[in-house]
Symmetry: D3
Subunit: 210 residues, 6 copies
């Protein structure tokens, strides 16, 4: 299994460059079977990112394995466990909510909110209902649409956090159009429901300079 | 190993509540040895969060193991690999940078920026040097200090993303003080350097309403 | 992935209660595929008990995984191995044997005994056939029935050991009934056959006091 | 890597006896580091027995591995765990207790009993203190000594069960000696304390026949 | 789980022969699913041989496990990988090539050669086409047939190496028959094609002595 | 953890190139601790080659891990095993033997042979002692030296096989020098001793053509 090239020198047929400076972590997740491929893909992406958060490995150097166990092969405290459904993608929940809000479909949007929902908008009091929000917004713009440049989601302890970032377009109360105004929203999702929304944007900057 | 309680019925001495509805994933990371305990803790936290992003497990139900391999026991392509230092905590890099900026220690702050650094502030052009920023800011406030409510960091592909969130206090150009103004900053950190900063805040809102 | 709550102190944002005093062992058994769920459940229970014999873990803290390998994926000495049937539950063998004895079905009972079978009853010589036993017992009681309070089975090296414990009821030789008399039987099961039976009970005590 | 012996026949150079009928399970226990070699040996023996309880493998065919993890490499719910001491060998506890009883060292014996201790002796009421026992025994024998033929210990859910088996020797109340009388004791040990003792023996049989 | 035989000595009931001098390595290969049983058998044989090259274990002592992962459960750099076909058995390629040469089926033989094919025969220049070879051989023998005693194949870095060893029979240019003349051929196979052939034999020895 | 680039289309934010056509096997060898780094390197190289013999992976794509277990953490049949020394590198044994032969150090060469040693040289009877060989060779050349182009070693069942390949130089019986004559030797090594040597070369070819 080793090849010796001529000229042969007895004492030095081991390679001198054996030690490259690299990391190649392997992560294995053992879970109960029953997840859909796209759910496992979300898991794999999250685990890959988790490694790269600490280990200076190129993406290619990280291997993630998912080992699935049938209920009958997996016990805790001697008791088998049956599969529970995967958590929904929190990014999708948030994007669906924002789409419902743009279409003023308050019923649909409300259905995605947790009971303890609260939201904070620029220079506004904390609000807890969508009606409050619509009331507050009516002096600020006729309507607003979001174009997304970036959606980021990650888990932080008990909640999933989703950031949506992009630009706003719409009309001022007097009907003048605006566009390209930067915004960022931060959401917390828990148990599949949105429980917190924080909003920042440049509307006031633009209005002041406009 | 099984206990039979009286009255004994031959056909039903198996427990009926064997199948609880729960998930208990196990994650094992195999890495080269050489990381400090706090670096492994960061890794463990990130892996735990990664699982919870998809699997509806309580925190307690997730076990994370780190198996460390000596260089001589870990090869890729038949070649050993030597340990590279862990990536620094990106939150700490960002907080150090922000502290240096508050103290107007531009040399220290500059040393934390990558060559390709760019920043976007509310309603401003994209800037690439701290001097540009200071020039731009001088008409907006005399000085500003940050109080942090929340720092979030996670990996997203090739970069670590850090969000800092809290309130600003300081003085307007005319010397009037302000405080409690919401802000959020988003940073990208790559190779231990800050390469992107995006800033949103309510300064204009407050000024307009003030 | 970490959340910093206000007020922020740079040097102490790590939790102080990271080290709880607990054990959470994980056991993984790799076996050839082909076992029935109830056979794997017996295996899982035995492994869980094995851990708890040494490690002070609550039941909940122990995770047992069974990984099954197809013949073609499992080799010893470069040779594949094909599945052999699981050992029958020794408790069930013993209970079937005792039921056959109560019904005086000697043919059925004999079929469950190994060639090297021997038995020891209170103050009796060691016997090796059921006829011997029946002969010995006829001066002691007309018949006897067992009520089981407890059946315990475990492996001990080459044999499975089964303990059955409970109370005897029946009739003395003169036809007087008796009941509630404590007994314990110990069995050794090897290769699916009973090879040893040892019996203790309070019959003499009760007779003496009766 | 394969050797072809003459005469060579192209289509059949694979061995026909590749599939032997055997089982060769592998068990791996992952635990926190900190156990003594003899504690790990007890664990390995218990795991080996657990496998043999179900899988028809010869002893030689079972491999048990113990992987020990440093606290900093093992987390549950993102929190590290520190090692707890192994449970003491329950057989040793029981044998120490029985030795103390033989030496009438009630203080030492009492110290090994749990608060909820109870015991059942042949044809006696359930007792809960050693004084009760001594009082009950004084009409039955002057003293008794145990010779052990067999000690068996195993875990059964929350308790360790220990069986001691052998023969009694001593003196009847009238001073006549006796010896070779069969006994078996069953103990339950929980949290390092004896919580239950059940006793069967042939004393009454021998007395009746004597 | 432990058995104590009489006479019982408290301090030495642990076996003194616990430490036999042996090795029992376990090798686990994790691969994408999709290989045929005979391909996995080749892999298992090669891994078993690899261990025995270094570890002084009897064949029986080596366990090889193959764990197969579905594409959706195996990612590198966060990307799933789909199965590629196994490499063909290089011994079979070489034997097919030699059979085609014996039957003078140059088209079939040529199809098994890589573009960079070269061959070295005893005391001949390096050749790169089969026509060259036939031309060179015509003064040496009318025809030649191979009987194989041994075929060995193994991987050596980027190429598979195959040795075929046995005896030649045929006719000298004058029609005299010969037989039993030792030969050995060495082949390199890369990407399923033969890229190198080296030939040694005793033809000249026999001719000289004949 | 996912980034969405503008323009955003709700239904297609998953990458279309998720499935590359590649293999990335991972091999883990679990052995008793006690091997030297260079012994483990030989093992790792052999395992890497074993994988590449079947799986079309580039060298880089193969990860090999060696997990070492202390004696007290590794049991077979419930018994611990103590480490045995690694097998010596068979290539080194063969090269040492050939060097001793060149220096006519028969004592040293003999010490490296197993009792059952046999050798076959071109057109010679099988021989079993070095004296026989020297006697046979004296009519063929005054002396011969080997220059190595290639040394290959691998395990084949119970023996290690070593091939040495290169060219011979020396003097014919009449004192005329020769050089550059092709040779190949095949050795079998078992238990650290050479048990078989087979030799092929072009000496007769060259002599015939000379």
């Amino acid at each position: 299994m080793f090849i010796l090239t001529f000229p042969y020198t007895k004492t030095c047929y081991m390679k001198s460059t054996d030690f490259a400076r690299e990391k190649m972590p392997i992560v294995e997740a053992r879970i109960l079977e029953g997840y859909a491929p796209e759910e496992k893909k979300r898991l794999i992406t999250a685990l890959t990112d988790a490694i790269r958060f600490v280990v200076p490995a190129t993406n290619e150097a990280i291997t993630v394995l998912v080992s699935e166990y049938a209920s009958e092969n997996y016990a805790r405290g001697g008791e088998h466990r049956s599969p529970a459904p995967a958590l929904p993608d929190p990014s999708q929940i948030v994007l669906n909510y924002l789409a419902a809000m743009e279409e003023r479909d308050l019923a649909a949007a409300n259905a995605m909110l947790g009971e303890e929902f609260s939201m904070v908008f620029p220079a506004a009091q904390s609000m807890s209902s969508l009606n409050e929000l619509i009331d507050w917004a009516k002096d600020r713009y006729r309507f607003v649409k979001k174009t997304y440049d970036n959606v980021e989601a990650f888990q932080s302890g008990d909640v999933a956090v989703v950031y949506t970032q992009g630009t706003l377009s719409g009309e001022w109360p007097d009907g003048t159009p605006f566009a390209g105004i930067r915004f960022i929203d931060r959401f917390e999702v828990s148990g599949g429901k949105i429980v917190k929304q924080d909003v920042w944007n440049d509307l006031a900057e633009v209005r002041a300079n406009g």
